[in-house]
Amino acid sequence: MAGSDDRKSSERALRDSRSKKAEENLLRLADSLYGQFQRGVVPHISLPSRTKGNIEFSTKDDVWIYGDQETMRSVKTVRGAKTLLKTVHLTELLIDEHLKNNRGSTLREIYYISENWDIAKFHEQAESDRLIEDLEIVTDLHREDFHVRPEEDGAAVFGPLRLKEQTRRGEKEMHCQEDVGEAGYQIPFNVDNIEFINHDARMVMAIETGGMYARLIENGFDEEYNAILVHIKGQPARSTRRIIKRLNTELNLPVVVFTDGDPWSYRIFASIAYGAIKSAHLSDHLVTPKARFLGVQPSDIVDYNLSTDKLTDRDLQALKSELSDPRFANPYWEKQIHLQIDLKKKAEQQAFAGKGLDFVTKTYLPDRLTEMGII
């Protein structure tokens, strides 16, 4: 077991060095503000503006990243001054409480910690979340490096995969079909604590709804087609996107995304395959550019004569907004979105149940996967 001890200590050294780097980068931010005071420059931080209009396609990594537009946080306005004060408070918290003591907090806990910061208190959690993202951008690190955890559940995974997880209570090894319950393996918030050992898979299928995930497990789809099923639970958490990316790049498995057939679900796909507007600074870490959209496609509504709901005004608006979203600016999506606007209809994954419980695994998925050249 000497070898494993060695590895542990080297891992600790790695973790320490990342902590060190995080602390250094945070101190550098404080130092730059301090220097601005000394030089008589009105203190400010520049950040890329995080809007639809400021994301561009990086041909280097095939992902969407922020462009050149910047917004300036300066103490010239009360809002800007308060934000900077909060940033400095947050920096102190992350250095003194988290990094120096090897502790961590959740995003929600940070929001509550700010209760004691008087005028620097956050008004809502969205504000502290945003500020953490800002710090990620400024320091070129990830929130995990600051020991900041999300509240949200990560994905569940079910399929022919053996992996090992570093937990606070030691190393755990498991097989994601044999060693787990019906819900699958629950991935941790820091996916980089997982090591893949071996697998017997041909593809990864990310599934939006719990109902469809359970249907595929019940029908034995994972065994029949050697598929690793990932339940993405709505808008995917960072850890979900990270594990999909790791499965894709490290195990070289094709990734398909199976969601409802409505504009909101296309955004789920976009955040997996193209990156999210809010977190484009993490695109190279989280995005799986090779992920492909399986369905439900608007054309499936016609081809399989699915039962549908009418598009609401909000749905229509969302579709139209996607037409002006650079991430959807390709012939496939333009054709599908225009078709859906004409149909004025949307369909859920569960709509296939109308053709019988086996229809989705016996007919639809094999059809689509063949069409996509995966089986």
Binding site: L33, Y34, Q36, V42, P43, V75, K76, A81, K82
Partner: protein
């Protein structure tokens, strides 16, 4: 018999009462809710006029009661009362009144209003109108029930008797009519009394609604408005027909005297001048002028400069009471008012008053409310047809900080406008007195009044935004910046940074600071003055040192103070510019005190003492 003679038999005089019976919409009785409002308004107008004439602070009680399928309208005042002989004609004869033939500002003009109410009541309910009036505490009250004989336009007394009435004096009228009571809108009995209360802050108005709810519009002042006096017509804008009529029926024997006595603002000298300009004999009898001569006289009126009509024929509300009225009925942050000087249209003097309320609890969205008044009477209907509305619409409100779609029309924002026109004769568009006609002279005066209050609003708002900007900066300087500096020093474990330079930049101040370095056993000092404001700053800069400095650039005036030397420079630094002064002192001289800036306020100077 000839056809014309046949036809002549069918020709027949029509009584006014009959005419109005068939054309009730002209008088404002076109719908059920409106009939109630009009009746109340006419009765209240009469009461207010009567009280003011008698110098009594009005206390008017209005009650609307449901009685079977009809509504009963009761209006009671504490006015001077009406003598018994007059009551039937005042209430039950159309076009009977005291004000038609005088040029004096009053609410009522033609003597139609209340009798039209009586007529409407009799047409819809078939019941007589009941009136009680008492003229003195020691006299009995007179009670009567009246109807109008519509074919003759004469009153018919159904019943008359002397009764006991506990009031010292006053008049009470009760009418029954078809109607419909609405509450919520401005076009309601409640709304019109509320408006009346705004421009009659000296009156107490009490309303008892059908469900028993009591609303009291309390007085905002105890002083009566200035009494308006009757005047002679003003020569400006008089029409030819009117002039010929006056010439023919005057009892004056000489043209000179006629001119002086018949018109206001014409004295002996201008009468002479008029005769000369018109080439007429001042001593000629007025009735002897023929048509051509009358035309010449009219032309002469236009050629000479006649002074404005006297103000005392009008009774403006006054800026103070407009303010009180608006404050009473709205919660506002800001009120601007103006009273325009007296002007004349078609020989009738008039003046315009405008009040503008802003902010407070007024709705931020939606068009502003316009309160229109003519001779202290609220105008409720036909807003779109009124000169006041037209004048409001044609002002470009965007220049005055209110938004306005498409650059014209009623502006949008948290504002209320009050416009009052006072005149000896308001040019209404119809007998129902809903809207003022678009007389060019009146439109011009309203426009000027509106722009005056709008300018005041703009000044107020720009002052407000400056203030809030200043307050915002103060918050940054006082509360936030020191904390950021403190936190940074905690995190970095370094001394707190000097926030002075940053403060100077944010506040747009003059920043003074020193930089010094040791050089060959001497200290070289650079004294830097940065102007972060938008203005040129001129001042004297003093540097008090223990010794005479050397290598001073630019040269300074140096004055010995006994224990030290005052070095000073006269400087003028442009916006965004800086001035640099350098000098040298011995290495072991003690550090100088703060530099001193002479001639600027301390709050715009950072890093130096200002004196």
């Amino acid at each position: 018999m000839e056809i014309a003679e046949e036809l002549a038999k069918q020709q027949k005089a029509i009584s006014v009462a009959e005419f109005f019976e068939k054309n009730r919409q002209i008088l404002g009785f076109d719908s059920a809710p409106r009939a109630l409002i009009t009746c109340v308004k006419e009765a209240v107008d009469n009461s207010l006029d009567a009280c003011e004439d008698a110098g009594i602070l009005p206390d008017i009680f209005v009650q609307i009661k449901k009685s079977g399928e009809y509504f009963q309208v009761i209006v009671e005042d504490n006015g001077p009362g009406i003598v018994p002989e007059e009551i039937p004609r005042v209430f039950a004869k159309l076009l009977y009144g005291s004000r038609f033939h005088t040029l004096r500002q009053s609410r009522g003009q033609q003597g139609i209003g209340i009798s039209a109410g009586v007529l409407y009541s009799q047409l819809t309910s078939g019941r007589p109108t009941r009136v009680i009036s008492k003229i003195a505490p020691d006299r009995p009250a007179y009670y009567c029930e009246l109807m109008i004989n519509t074919s003759k336009n004469e009153p018919e007394i159904i019943k008359a008797e002397e009764v006991d009435w506990e009031r010292p004096r006053g008049t009470r009228v009760e009418m029954e009519m078809e109607g419909s009571y609405v509450r919520s809108r401005r076009q309601s009995v409640y709304g019109s009394l509320k408006s009346a209360a705004i421009v009659n802050p000296h009156a107490r108005l009490t309303l008892v609604e059908p469900e028993g709810n009591v609303e009291v519009f309390e007085r905002a002042t105890e002083s009566l408005p200035k009494k308006a006096y009757a005047i002679q017509p003003h020569p400006e804008g008089i029409e030819l027909g009117e002039l010929i009529k006056l010439l023919r029926y005057t009892d004056k024997k000489k043209l000179r005297v006629f001119l002086k006595e018949t018109f206001s603002s014409i004295g002996t000298i201008s009468a002479q001048e008029l005769c000369k300009k018109a080439d007429l004999d001042p001593e000629a009898p007025p009735a002897s002028l023929d048509h051509d001569e009358a035309v010449r006289l009219l032309l002469a009126f236009k050629q000479i400069r006649v002074k404005s009509p006297p103000v005392d024929c009008l009774s403006p509300i006054g800026e103070e009471l407009i303010r009180a009225g608006l404050e009473k009925e709205f919660r506002l942050d800001f009120i601007a008012t103006t009273t325009r000087p007296v002007s004349v249209y078609s020989g009738n003097p008039f003046l315009v008053e405008v009040g503008l309320g802003y902010g407070g609890e007024l709705a931020r969205e939606g068009r502003i409310e316009i309160l229109r008044f003519a001779n202290r009477v609220p105008l409720v209907y036909q807003q779109g047809a009124c000169a006041i509305t037209h004048a409001v619409e044609s002002v470009s409100w965007k220049n005055y900080s209110l938004s306005q779609s498409a650059g014209s029309g009623i502006p949008v924002g948290p504002a209320v406008l009050l416009v009052h026109i006072a005149s000896t004769n308001i040019p209404f568009t119809s007998e129902s007195k809903d809207a003022v006609a678009d007389m060019p002279e009146i439109l011009v005066e309203i426009d000027l009044g509106l722009k005056e209050v709008a300018r005041k609003l703009r000044r107020y708002l720009s002052r407000q935004s400056l203030l809030s900007e200043r307050r915002e900066k103060e918050e940054i300087i006082r509360k936030i910046l020191p904390r950021i500096a403190k936190k940074l020093s905690d995190v970095l474990d370094r001394p707190e940074p000097d926030i002075g330079p940053v403060v100077a930049k944010i506040m747009g101040n003059l920043l003074v600071y020193r930089e010094s370095e040791q050089q060959d056993g001497r200290i070289s000092v650079r004294l830097v003055v940065e102007n972060h404001s938008d203005l040129v700053r001129s001042f004297k800069l003093h540097e008090i040192l223990g010794e005479k400095a050397e290598a001073i650039s630019p040269p300074a005036k140096v004055i010995s103070l006994g224990d030290g030397y005052d070095h000073h420079w006269k400087l003028s630094v442009g916006p965004g510019q800086k001035a640099i002064i350098s000098y040298q002192i011995g290495a072991n001289s003690s550090g100088p005190a703060k530099p001193v800036v002479e001639g600027l306020d301390p709050e715009i100077v950072t890093g130096a003492r200002a004196i």
